[in-house]
Amino acid sequence: MSIRYFKRRRVRSALLLSAVLIIAMLPFRWIDANLWRTEEASGWTLLLAIIVLTLLALRKRVPTAPLGRVATWVQVHLYLGLGSAALALAHVGWKWPTGWLEGSLYLAYWGTFISGVAGLYLTRTIPKQLARTGEQVVYERIPRLRRLIADESQRSVVNAVAESGALTLANFYQSQLFPYLDAPRSWWYGLRPTSELRRKLLGELTSLNRYFSAAERTAAERLFALVRKKDDLDFHAAKQGVLKGWLFGHLCLTAVLVLLSLAHMVTVLAFRGGPG
């Protein structure tokens, strides 16, 4: 069987990136030998790379412009982003810049780079985790669905109470289940979702089963399912939230990077020792 498309594309792109980097770095020797400064060449290249990387945001806003698929842009973005690290190292050298402006620019660059790499990891791992849950959820609908679960659970409990008059389930529901079903999880869960609370609640519900009336048992079955649904919902809220929140950070760092790059460009051009 032939190698899968994405794997093949990864190998091809990595090879292409290496080739482009090598070809891009070759003239540096020539530039140095011709009394130009390699920092100038790598600086302009890096600035161009940053502009191309930033243009992805603009490309996304004009989906039908005949500029190639966004997926292609993202591929270019990924590999150019990775390659820009080599350019940055070529530009600055194996050291940390000493000036305030240059230091913060370098910090912003590596911040953006690392956030990008983190994003690459997240966007490649989280979708699979999300796909494993029973149902797929649109992020914006989560509050409404949470409400739906809470209402549905309440209805089953109320019905059970009306039918049997027993309050065992109702009390447990009131004190433990409802707060879980009705509210979103803490931000801590967002960073590291676990099924601990779900297992605890389901365990307690199971252990209470022997005290339930027949009607309560039916309702408890329903609650079992709803707790699971809520757990899926929380998982989606958390993981999709991470994916969306990551972009906040990456974009903010990008804004800082672009501004500082421009400031750096202006000062360098104004303070270089003349074109000669």
């Binding site: 011709n34 000493t98 669905l145 974009l251 104004a270 270089r272």
Partner: protein, 639 residues
């Protein structure tokens, strides 16, 4: 339960792109209408109740849940109207955050640039300690402007400067302002800081093509910043340069010192400003004859810096053999005034009156005017004319007594000689000053003149004149000043004190400095003073410099030498045991040919391979700048 969420989703299209969402979204009870694009809640009712008779009936669309339980009010107002405070959608929040971060940074940047830290903000790194200590005296806000033309501009000005170069001084101009010893300043941005004519023709052509290709107007615009980059830290080597950059303009390109660098054809080269010393004859003949060991290190000792001295000096190196001969050559003394033998009667008979003439010097024509006297006499035009007739190398013995013109000229010289002595008896120092000024064609200073006459007073010339012309016996014959009257020879003489006699040196310098129109005078003087048998034998070793014909009295100290293109430090080399023996590198040339065009060393040229043994990239290094200077020709105080 499998499709619990999916079935609940059928409420039309999701609108994640809208800037605002209903304020009830978080609680899961968002209204169907949503806020306006500008984020206003317009309190829409879910239905338009229908009038049926006097009452109203709920008319909520089936899709929205059908008629509601509560139903409309008696006035027909829908009871299902939601109010909320719309909130921004996730995407809109993100856009706001990003733009606020950008604005904040922009604002903070402007604020910092307006503050007194504006220069600290943009300085890219510390200066080298050399520059830093100079700038430390300047106020922080003005430091940039010391070197950068844009230093005093505002942020807006920087943008302007960044876009196009501003008129006014360039950064290089500001460099040269302090680095004045890049002489001459007009060549400061020239390649190798020399006049472009000084470069080889081929290199000049390559250079012109090269500078044109990299967008420079002219080859003489190599800004300092092209090689010297500051703000790289206190310890940064501003002068570091790669080999490739060195070759940027060179017509002849090569890979490395080991491969491609030309062979040395004349290195080491004898200095044109050196004291003549024939290593070969000394080693093979003189030392051998005396059965002495010819040890290089006995003359080329190590200085305090470890560098080889070129010589240890006459007293230590030469005197033991040469002093006796040198002193012997001086016994005759240096005549300032000497009367040759003149047949005064013969002259008078021929109608040429020599005036008064010392009786002791009367007889058959014989003898010469001494060199110093020729110099002094040449100051008088008629004497000069007489010499022109007779020749400066005149010996009266050879005078053609049948030539009336020659006799007339001799008479003129005799009269001039008498006049000279008379005037010497006045103020000898001033007389020499005046006369030498005429001969050299330049104003001779009185201290210069004083050196020439040393401690000669008018007493000795007076006494001499009195003795020789008037026959009055003199009591001054020998004095401590070195001047004496040699009555036998009818001469006023100076007795040199030995090696490095200042009077002899001063007169030789005068002779060497004679202008071109007095070549015959100079030749005659040199024949007397600089010949191998002349007094003091000075010129045997102190040859005249090829460049300016000046006598080289002593070897130049390193700081006096012009900065050479190639430099070599012995110290680090001779530390190696195998190089401790000078002969390891310096083999004496088999044949010494004396060339007048170029001073030639009596050593064979070094082989490049000798150097290549160690000078490889990962061993002793093969940087161009290890041996070559870029800035050539400036005094080495600037190194």
């Amino acid at each position: 339960m499998r499709n619990f969420f999916t079935n609940a989703g059928g409420e039309g299209y999701d609108r994640p792109h809208d800037p605002y969402e209903c304020g009830h979204t978080e609680s899961g009870e968002a209204c169907r209408f949503g806020p306006t694009p500008s984020g206003k809640c317009e309190h829409h009712a879910e239905c338009q109740p229908l009038r049926s008779g006097v009452t109203f009936k709920c008319n909520r669309p089936e899709k929205w849940g059908g008629p509601c339980e509560a139903g409309p009010s008696a006035e027909g107002a829908c009871s299902r109207v939601k109010h909320c405070k719309p909130m921004r959608s996730l995407r809109s929040k993100r856009r706001r955050l990003v733009s606020s971060v950008a604005l904040l940074l922009f604002g903070a940047g402007l604020l910092l640039l307006g503050s007194r830290w504006s220069r600290e903000v943009i300085v890219p790194g510390p200066l080298t300690s050399v520059h830093a200590q100079i700038l430390n005296r300047t106020a922080t806000q003005e430091r940039c402007a010391t070197c950068h033309p844009a230093g005093n501009e505002s942020a807006l000005g920087w943008i302007k400067t960044a876009l196009h170069t501003s008129p006014g001084p360039t950064q290089t101009d500001l460099c040269v302002k302090c680095h004045t010893n890049l002489t001459p300043a007009e060549f400061a941005t020239n390649p190798h800081t020399v006049a472009s004519e000084a470069l080889p023709e081929k290199t000049r052509a390559t250079l012109a093509a090269f500078t044109h290709s990299i967008g420079l107007g002219a080859p003489d615009e190599v800004a300092c910043s092209r090689c010297h980059q500051e703000h790289q830290g206190a310890e940064f080597d501003l002068k570091a340069i790669t080999n490739a950059r060195c070759q940027a303009c060179h017509a002849e390109q090569f890979g490395s010192f080991a491969h491609g660098h030309p062979e040395f054809t004349s290195w080491p080269r004898a200095s044109t400003n050196s004291v003549a010393f024939d290593h070969s004859s000394h080693a093979d003949q003189h030392f051998a004859q005396k059965q002495q060991k010819f040890d290089c290190r006995s003359c080329h000792t190590a200085s305090s810096t470890g560098e080889m001295r070129t010589s240890v000096g006459y007293d230590a190196a030469c005197a033991s053999c040469h002093d006796a001969a040198l002193k012997a050559s001086m016994t005759g003394g240096l005549a300032l005034w000497n009367a040759p033998m003149i047949d005064a009667d013969a002259l008078r008979t021929a109608g040429a009156d020599p005036g008064r003439w010392p009786a002791a010097a009367e007889g058959d024509f014989d003898g010469e005017f001494p060199a110093l006297m020729k110099l002094l006499l040449a100051a008088e035009p008629e004497s000069a004319k007489a010499f022109d007739k007779l020749g400066y190398d005149l010996n009266l013995f050879d005078l053609d007594i049948d030539d009336p013109a020659a006799l007339r000229a001799t008479a003129i010289l005799a009269q001039a000689s008498t006049r000279l002595l008379t005037e010497l008896a006045g103020d000898p120092s001033d007389l020499v000053r005046r006369r030498m000024s005429v001969v050299l064609g330049r104003e001779v200073k009185s201290d210069e003149a004083a050196k020439l006459v040393a401690l000669l007073t008018n007493a000795q010339p007076q006494a001499a004149a009195a003795t020789w012309y008037d026959g009055k016996p003199s009591n001054i014959s020998e004095s401590a000043t070195g001047w004496r009257i040699d009555s036998a020879a009818v001469a006023l003489k100076y007795q040199p004190i030995g090696h490095a006699d200042p009077v002899l040196q001063a007169w030789l310098d005068i002779v060497a400095a004679l202008p071109a129109e007095r070549t015959s005078l100079r030749d005659a003087a040199l024949a007397e003073l600089a010949g191998p048998k002349s007094i003091g034998q000075c010129a045997t070793c102190h040859t005249q410099s090829m460049q300016n014909q000046q006598f080289v009295w002593r070897l130049p100290t390193p700081s006096e030498r012009p900065r050479p293109f190639t430099h070599f430090a012995h110290a680090p080399h001779v530390m190696l045991p195998e190089l401790a023996d000078c002969a390891a590198c310096h083999a004496r040339a088999a044949v010494t040919t004396v060339s007048t065009a170029q001073a030639q060393s009596d050593f064979a040229p070094l082989q490049k391979s000798t150097c290549v043994n160690c000078h490889q990239p990962h061993a002793a290094g093969d940087q161009c700048t290890q041996c070559h200077n870029y800035h050539v020709g400036l005094p080495s105080g600037m190194r």
